[in-house]
Symmetry: C2
Subunit: 270 residues, 2 copies
Amino acid sequence: MTHVFDEAITVEKLDAEHGYAVRATTHPAYNNMVGPFGGITAATVVAAIGDHPDVLGEPLALTINYVAPIAEGQWDLTLTAVRTNRTNQHWTFTIDQNEQTVATGTSVFGVRRDTWADTEARVPEAPAPVDVPAVDFPDFIAWAANYEKRFVAGGLEDGASDDSTSTLWLRDLPERDLDYPALTSMTDAFFPRAFLRQGTYLPAGTISLTTYFHATSEELAAQGSSPVLATARGARFGNGHFDQYGQIWGDGDVLLATTHQLVYFKDLKA
Amino acid sequence: MTHVFDEAITVEKLDAEHGYAVRATTHPAYNNMVGPFGGITAATVVAAIGDHPDVLGEPLALTINYVAPIAEGQWDLTLTAVRTNRTNQHWTFTIDQNEQTVATGTSVFGVRRDTWADTEARVPEAPAPVDVPAVDFPDFIAWAANYEKRFVAGGLEDGASDDSTSTLWLRDLPERDLDYPALTSMTDAFFPRAFLRQGTYLPAGTISLTTYFHATSEELAAQGSSPVLATARGARFGNGHFDQYGQIWGDGDVLLATTHQLVYFKDLKA
């Protein structure tokens, strides 16, 4: 049986006259309040580049800009390998729907070489997943039902806080072995930090998401379907926008990914 | 007299058959070890979008991917306004030189609206700029001579450290009032974090840089030519790459920008 995540990121190759394009279809299981969950869109891009016949290596970086809402239905992803260097490969991409561009972005794939290594960041303190209750999000955040979420700090219904940090144990439901597309999606799985600061839902959405992939494929394989520890915080809120910086940690304090996003929001003043 | 920074980011409009393109020329004052300083390239893009006749608002986000080395001489920047929404505008861009693409990227500009606001990040502790000596970088890092650099922590010649944090007072030399292009450049003005960890120079270069602009134009005007406090740190090093997360702070603890970059490096093992 195909996992719902794999259903959602499935694409079919298009016979493009110029370039390389694939067609995706939004999956109702990954709907967000308006349009699809941004993480599943980003994951679809990373999976499609990974499946490109000329791909070099593994994902290193992804930036995706959510230009306009994506409607339910089909959307087309055009991928361009701008340049292949000895150890890395630069991609640009465009997502179109109904003859409008709804997302743009860039990605870097590359070969990982043996070098000096150290993880300088420190994993947040957290009780074991079994000691933290799993919580549900409201039904109108459909995509969240595909994740097991055990909040160590900053849950969705904790009320207004002066600290926008959320730290949670996170894994796919049903359980699924971690890979680069799933990790991509997880880096967008934090609800908007403004909800936590204001203690309420607000109109909000990601404008631009950047994720750096630190995990090797061996580290992802070793993680299997164990929960990752995900943490994110905003630095500055105001003028209709805020940023969010986050980290995704695997077993053995392996830093799998770092991520930075810019989010718009509205409140009663705006 | 034109400031050297403004000389370096000057472009001329090209008569493009399709789209909108400008021509820039590398400036020897902003050379790096190989090719131009990435910050000046990024600044040129932000300035050129800001000067586009159809621009909406101010810079919110920039991602630039350094695809191949830029040689000394002219390079062409093609700008595309992918979509203009009510309050923001999405751009893509390509930099070509000698019929090769040497950089790609995306940018978001937009209108700042009055909303709830708070800065949650905390400014690093630092003595006043006058109490911190200004240091020079070696001549082969030419661009650095255009910045006054007063390191509070993590200077270039501090020797190997187990903490990759650099915090410094930074301003243009000669003094120049801060604007979005200058702020853009400053977000790339941290030398590679691996130098600090290893206590030595290594082959290293930025692959992808993302900067979020939190400053309003009023805040930039209020900053004038006073030094900003810039801080950056890597989270994970290894497999030929590392990340860097940074913040640029203005007077009165105003968080002007946050930034995240992915850097490649080589060492004797690679």
